[in-house]
C-alpha cells in the first residue's frame, strides 16, 4: 500500500505496465508540443510581449510624458490632454494613483512604440475590450511595439491593486481610421 513501505525490496526493478508507459510517453510529447509552441509563436506569431525595458526614474519619465503632451496634444477630454502621436513614434503613457495619463489617439494599422511606467505604485495596464494585460512598475520603462488593428474606443482599466482609489483608475485609447 501507499502508506506502507514498498513490499518489494528492489522496487526500482519491477516492470511497469504498458498503459502507464504509453501515457507517460504521450504526456511527455504533449509537454514538448506546448514548450515548442511558445517558441514557434515567437518566430511566427504576431502577439509577443516585448523584452525591451529600461531603468528610469519617475521624474525622468514624467518629463518625457510632458514633452509628448506639449508636442502632440490635439484636444482635451474630461480635463485630460488627448495626444495624437505620429506613426512610429515613442509614446509615453504613465500610470499614477489613480489616473492613466494622457489619453491617446492612434491610427489603425500604424505601429507605435508604447512606453509604460508608473510614478508611484505598481499598476495594471488592462486594455479593454480586447483584454491585453501588462504589469506596470515604477522605475522601469517597458516598451511595447503595438499595431492597433481595429478602430474604436478602448479603455485602460487598472487591474493591479493600487490603493483605495484603484477601482476608479481608467484611461482611454482611441483608435481612428486613417
Amino acid at each position: 500500500m501507499a502508506i506502507t513501505s514498498p513490499s518489494t525490496r528492489l522496487w526500482w526493478n519491477e516492470p511497469a505496465h504498458r498503459s502507464e508507459l504509453i501515457w507517460i510517453a504521450l504526456a511527455f510529447v504533449w509537454g514538448l508540443v506546448m514548450f515548442f509552441m511558445m517558441i514557434y509563436w515567437h518566430a511566427t506569431g504576431a502577439q509577443n510581449l516585448a523584452n525591451e525595458t529600461y531603468r528610469t526614474t519617475p521624474n525622468a519619465y514624467y518629463a518625457k510624458v510632458e514633452r509628448n503632451v506639449a508636442d502632440w496634444q490635439v484636444r482635451e477630454l474630461n480635463g485630460l490632454p488627448v495626444i495624437k502621436p505620429p506613426a512610429g513614434a515613442d509614446v509615453y503613457l504613465l500610470g499614477r494613483m489613480w489616473l492613466w495619463y494622457p489619453v491617446l489617439e492612434l491610427e489603425r494599422g500604424q505601429t507605435y512604440r508604447l512606453h509604460l511606467s508608473s510614478l508611484d505604485l505598481q499598476h495594471g495596464f488592462s486594455l479593454q475590450p480586447i483584454n491585453i494585460n501588462v504589469q506596470v512598475h515604477p522605475g522601469y520603462d517597458h516598451v511595447l511595439t503595438v499595431t492597433p488593428d481595429r478602430s474604436g474606443e478602448y479603455t485602460i482599466v487598472c487591474n493591479e491593486f493600487c490603493g483605495l482609489g484603484h477601482h476608479t483608475m481608467l484611461g482611454k485609447i482611441f483608435v481612428v481610421d486613417r
Binding site: 525490496r9 528492489l10 522496487w11 526500482w12 526493478n13 525595458t53 529600461y54 531603468r55 528610469t56 525622468a60 519619465y61 522601469y140 520603462d141
Partner: protein, 55 residues
C-alpha cells in the same frame, strides 16, 4: 543508507542507482533547493541587474 539487511544465506542486495537516489532524502533536499535557486532566482536576478538605463 538504503542498505537492506541481506538474509543470512544471500549476497548483499545491489540496490539500483535510481532507487538509491530516491532513498537519499538529503540529496533530494539539496537538489530541490539548488535547482530553482539557480534556474529561477539567480538567472532572474542576473537579468534584472542588467537592465540598461533609459537613454
Amino acid at each position: 543508507m538504503s542498505e537492506i539487511e541481506p538474509a543470512p544465506d544471500q549476497e548483499p542486495l545491489r540496490i539500483p542507482f535510481m532507487q538509491r537516489v530516491l532513498d537519499n532524502h538529503f540529496l533530494l533536499l539539496f537538489l530541490g533547493v539548488v535547482v530553482p535557486t539557480v534556474l529561477y532566482i539567480i538567472w532572474g536576478i542576473l537579468e534584472l541587474v542588467q537592465i540598461p538605463v533609459a537613454p
